[in-house]
């Protein structure tokens, strides 16, 4: 544009900031609220042969996880106003617990781990057992 890389970069970053701020002011900064129904709907699309046994929805509605009869784990997480999922085979999961929070490595460079907060430490501990059952 101007012939100067530095100046071009500054102008481009300024333009990006302008568009991003504009999108913010028109109300585009939104996060999805992950409910059991929303997680199930997305899971049915992404992993139609995954049969969930039960769901744990994070108290902040930012993530959810499910275990199937076969011990497979399905993670649902927020990505802005959309939901993404990861399916982990039985025996692949090495979840840990910190208080009420479960930390599940998603083994993916795009999303290394998912955090799900249970309603109580007891619930978190029960789910930790379910997640790691096949280890």
């Amino acid at each position: 544009m101007t012939g100067s890389l530095v100046l071009d970069t500054v102008i481009s970053v300024g333009g990006i900031l302008f568009v991003v701020l504009f999108s913010y002011f028109v109300g585009a900064l939104r996060s999805v609220c992950i409910t059991k129904a929303a997680a199930q709907e997305r899971a049915a699309f992404d992993e139609p042969d995954f049969v969930p046994k039960d769901w744990l929805v994070s108290v902040d509605n930012a993530a959810a996880l499910s275990v199937s009869e076969e011990g497979e784990v399905l993670l649902a997480f927020s990505s802005g106003n959309r939901i993404g999922t990861r399916r982990l085979l039985a025996g692949q999961v090495r979840a840990t617990r910190v208080g009420c929070e479960l930390v599940v490595p998603a083994m993916d460079p795009g999303r290394p781990e998912i955090r799900v907060t249970a309603g109580s430490e007891m619930i978190a501990q029960r789910w930790l057992g379910l997640l790691n059952q096949s280890v």
């Binding site: 999108s23 585009a28 992404d46 990505s79 959309r82 993404g84 993916d108 460079p109």
Partner: protein, 306 residues
């Protein structure tokens, strides 16, 4: 004949059209925007302009000039040659784009463009940072060897990219008879969709005729709204992670490979390839879906519960 850098010249137009589309979205005319997604797309677009300066652009230019030096014909730089060059380059784009979906080495670069779960004009600018160093020149060099000047090739390539900008929108429906010849928003929505019926389809740049000719055309079905993104959606807006996640994935897989066959399969097989078939390629997903459809037609009472 001068060949301007049309992509750079069009940047103000890109910005204006994105802002207009955002306003139209707020007025409930369709489409959808999310701030972090848009920011990520624009950062990827900026990075795609800067990254080639670290050697990729020079490499590409040198290869094209070298190819042009051994040209078969002296093709003049006149307007009607530019038109022919545009059409031939669009055919080149079709195959380049197709292999970018069918082989993981190229997909690792192209996946960036598909990594948004949104489909709007900002998605058009979500471009790769590694596109100039993965071997795309192998597809472009034959045109230079034929005798098309490298600057003309850069110009028609830029025009093609420019054309593809406006088709990244949900706000435009179908365009009548143009749908037969041109790549349109409807056709390209199908290309960006992850619904099994839409996978591996509509690779066209400007002319959809290539897909019709080579059997990869799928029409948008009014009964099934496209769901955008990739099979394993990223869940990050970090540009560096977006740019390199698939390369990291390849590296991790190659490190744990137990034979040369596995190394080659992980790097150059279809995305989703695994030696034991435990992962799914898009062809496998589509096949599974087709089998389910056939099964449901044979036994309509066994439809899955809503």
């Amino acid at each position: 004949m001068n060949f301007p850098d049309v992509t750079t010249l069009a940047v103000p137009l890109f910005v204006a059209m994105i802002l207009i589309e955002m306003i139209a979205w707020r007025m409930k005319r369709g489409g959808d925007y999310e701030t972090r997604d848009t920011a990520a797309s624009l950062m990827m677009g900026l990075g795609s302009q800067i990254a080639p300066l670290f050697g990729g652009a020079a490499l590409l230019t040198a290869a094209l000039i070298a190819a042009y030096e051994v040209r078969l014909f002296d093709i003049p730089n006149v307007w009607w040659v530019v038109v022919i060059c545009f059409v031939i380059d669009d055919l080149r784009y079709y195959w380049w784009h197709r292999i970018s979906h069918e082989r993981r080495w190229f997909w690792a670069s192209h996946v960036i463009h598909h990594s948004s779960q949104h489909y709007n004009l900002s998605t058009a600018l979500r471009q790769t940072w590694t596109g100039t160093v993965i071997g795309g020149v192998l597809f472009k060099a034959p045109l230079a060897i034929l005798g098309f000047h490298p600057l003309m090739l850069a110009f028609v390539g830029g025009l093609n990219l420019l054309y593809q900008f406006w088709i990244h929108t949900e706000m435009i429906g179908r365009l009548g008879p143009l749908e037969w010849v041109l790549n349109t928003p409807s056709h390209h929505r199908v290309h960006h969709a992850t619904n099994p019926r839409y996978l591996d389809a509509n690779y066209a740049g400007t002319f959809i005729i290539w897909d019709r000719l080579f059997g990869t055309f799928v029409a948008e079905d009014d009964g099934e709204r496209p769901r955008y993104g990739i099979i394993k959606n990223l869940g990050t807006f970090n540009p560096v992670r977006i740019a390199f996640h698939e390369w990291i994935g390849i590296a991790k897989d190659v490190v744990k490979a137990r034979s040369l066959r596995e190394v080659l399969g992980y790097a150059f097989g279809p995305p989703g390839w695994s030696p034991d078939g435990s992962r799914l390629t898009s062809a496998m997903i589509k096949k599974r879906w087709l089998q389910q459809q056939a099964q449901q037609q044979r036994h309509p009472s066994k439809l899955p519960a809503e």
